[in-house]
Symmetry: C2
Subunit: 327 residues, 2 copies
Amino acid sequence: MPSCKRLVLLILGSWPTAILAEDPLPSWNERAAKQSIVAFVQRVTVSGSPDFVPRAERIAVFDNDGTLWCEQPAYPQFVFGMDRARGLAPQHPEWRDREPFKSAVTGDLKGVTASGVKGLIELTAVTHGGMTTDEFDRIVQDWLATARHPRFGRPYTECVYQPMLEVLTYLRANGFKTYIVSGGGLEFMRPWTQRVYAIPPEQVLGSTIVTRFELRDGKPVLMRLAEIELINDKAAKPVAIYEATGRRPLAAFGNSDGDLEMLQWTAAGAGPRFCLFVHHTDADREYAYDRDSPVGRLDKGLIEAAQKRWTIVDIKKDWRRVFPADK
Amino acid sequence: MPSCKRLVLLILGSWPTAILAEDPLPSWNERAAKQSIVAFVQRVTVSGSPDFVPRAERIAVFDNDGTLWCEQPAYPQFVFGMDRARGLAPQHPEWRDREPFKSAVTGDLKGVTASGVKGLIELTAVTHGGMTTDEFDRIVQDWLATARHPRFGRPYTECVYQPMLEVLTYLRANGFKTYIVSGGGLEFMRPWTQRVYAIPPEQVLGSTIVTRFELRDGKPVLMRLAEIELINDKAAKPVAIYEATGRRPLAAFGNSDGDLEMLQWTAAGAGPRFCLFVHHTDADREYAYDRDSPVGRLDKGLIEAAQKRWTIVDIKKDWRRVFPADK
């Protein structure tokens, strides 16, 4: 029964074959960055190769702000915090003369950042705490439904990078488990990462608010307190990855000094590892910056990426499209 | 080509059919506890049923000590801590006259517990910290390879409950993701949960030691400090589950007051939920205890389980076999 055998083979084999046959990264120009991604994936997934890595250990971690979605002219979560401060202002007359609230309520980003890390933490705590986890989830979803990027005029969730969406899909098709490891708020990201990145909530790591189990009228709830628990940035990132997964990633993707330790730790693992650093070079289609991030001069990561010969993405040259809406 | 169609159907359908055809819980007696597990799984997995739950949301959480493995006459991790204190004693002459170290070094469990929670935390911090994560992994594996349960004479990893292993397998075969949510140390469990429970490290939640990213001779390592970060017990458990998964479990399994909040929070979710409480009633085959746990009188969980009509397992009556080695 040769036709039957063929049918069986078709069922068992057609899907992976289709994936191999098509270009998995059509929004990438044919340059070294793209080639390095494909070469690494082939290296660790070809069965029998000395560099083969079992599926369970194929962990890839991605920073979010500036790596998966646009972080300019301000981190979307800062805009969320300012919008929320404006909504809460009527209940807080004392904010009228107090920074960073005064600037936040008037939408003055520079005024907010002028209050420094301490001010930003205070603003975040007050605007992200004081409700149950279910309530906060709803608040984030409502905000995302109406907020628009000031330059692109689209929802923030449509200001994600098409080439990176392709990398996520390509890695997953090759047995990788993809994680977000962001300095952004854990619960600010989870309501939309499944829909936008196909990354489920259990594969999102981020900064956290102190959360407490309480019985409210006998009903258990998780209350978010107005207190930051963890800022998941810099040296906190590799620790968070290890505590969450018990594994060292095979591949790490970042774009700033906040990602450096995560990239260093990934690179230092035994066997083949892949590190990629996104360099924002395209003022026409997105933004051009490196030393001047939204929170000041940061270039250690970029310098080390070059020294260690990690893959550096030059957006202007490497990305055929930047956003899904681009032609 | 009817024979061909049959062959295709066989490939597509044989595996789930085989699972349905066999008794998934052969070590359970035919009583209400077993029936409640099977009824719940069928209720949430039959496509088209009003109680159907998509695979991604089928989360089941399991306490470890006393729920998946034997916690008597002492938590295995306490024995590990005492054994390790004995090994470290030559470098700590000051321990000779200081509790809980003095008792730990002589293997006097009662003396150790007499120093209370503060003493236990101090002992745990010193014996579980002060090395890299890789080094600790090795220390745990070496200990497990030689340590034996004092009554059963087997490795602790063979003092796991056969009926619960079957529940884990049964749930996973029905699309559940199984997690351990233990008061035990995260990194004390991860080296062996995959092998023993088929639960990968990223699905283990536990108590943590403060861990710090460091460059040692330019090489990145994660150092475990001699300082407890989180005791993952009682009200900390639902918070840990939410922070790790962003989801509320469908099913929760525990055996002590330390599991009560996790069970309450699971039970309070919308739609069908399943809570199970293991009651240790079998002094012949295992141990009989409830009010007198290794750390004192604890019976709130058992009382509430009865009041709320959660499934209560009476080991003596419900389990045909207790350990894999039992006939």
